[in-house]
Subunit: 203 residues, 2 copies
Amino acid sequence: MSLLKPRGTYHHGNLQAALIAAATQMVRANGAEHLSLRAVAAEVGVSPSAAYHYYPDKDSLISGVGQELFERLADLQEAALSQFPGKSAKAARARFRALGRAYFDWASSEANLFRLMFGGFCSIDFAEAQIKRQESRAWNLLCSCLDDLQASGDIKKTIRPYGEILSWSTVHGATALIVEGHLPAASFESVLDGLELSLGIGK
Amino acid sequence: MSLLKPRGTYHHGNLQAALIAAATQMVRANGAEHLSLRAVAAEVGVSPSAAYHYYPDKDSLISGVGQELFERLADLQEAALSQFPGKSAKAARARFRALGRAYFDWASSEANLFRLMFGGFCSIDFAEAQIKRQESRAWNLLCSCLDDLQASGDIKKTIRPYGEILSWSTVHGATALIVEGHLPAASFESVLDGLELSLGIGK
DNA sequence: CTCCAAATCTGAACGATGTGCAGATTATTC
DNA sequence: GAATAATCTGCACATCGTTCAGATTTGGAG
């Protein structure tokens, strides 16, 4: 199903999905703060009012975009984990690092989308259920990764209870600071090094 | 000098400062994404065009607000540090914790201002010099705090080189995630506990 | 003190935006 | 095939950022 409404027809056929797709591309290019509902509608070949049948306002459209992005990010993390299968301590450690790197790589290659997700553009009310679900999916991936490290005795015992919260906070913080230009991009690897060291990962 | 232009006068007398002050209050209340240049001008008692004498566009006004906020944050951190003077290891540790808490407390009590600072609203170009200066002021406070901990042998040697970058990333990440509703507020203290533990602070 | 230039502010205007509403068009159901 | 629901259009309105010509005031030079 194409994004553009077929000429001469009245019904689009797939408007909601097309709106999200077009909005996503436009946010990716120009940032969520410059998204125009009218431009999205025009891109899709539909009148501005048509969007209001699926979203009560522009913010909800944006939240809809965010909803999909959180799913995409969880997928990405899943893919990162599956790159290093196996039960060895080495593999577990590689998975941990891959998880952090995937988060950062995604954010820096799609800065505008990352901002939309974590910059307060998604009204948590609207897409709360779906977003929370995808977020806990990603959270569980991180948990299992840390569990694997724990199983191979590759993480300091006293610190283990803080593992998830510390890892996410640190990786997210470094990512956000770098994306917004407050830290140089090169420092992300240092952060990963320091995080592993401080958690006692990899000896 | 009042915010409102004295009635019957033509010149305001303190427009630039008044614009920043009014804009700050409005962002504080409604968020930077809902700031209206016209509303700011009206609040100050001036025509919308008057603002363009001091800022080439709305984004620059917002950057001007951000500029002041970074200064205010650095002041806040300075105040936090001075709450626990002394050379003892205990005092140094209290300073480290106070630094993190000040960052978080400020952010959660002024979520909209925090978002303005770190959410990509400040065009780094415009206020780059001044913002970077205040940021490095805060950075230096963190450095000296970690130096103190190092002096009292209260931080793991191998981790020390990562101290600043890890601390800022972790505290900023946890703060941002909590402010945006991705983590419960209560988890911030856990993050601080975990951070100290993982850095080897306080034994 | 006077006059001129620079600084500061106004007013009206333009195009674009988000949104509401009445009604047109198409799909669905009986 | 007719009634009902789903979808979409067209127009309107208020608001917004921004521009620009010109009004008003200030400050300094003569």
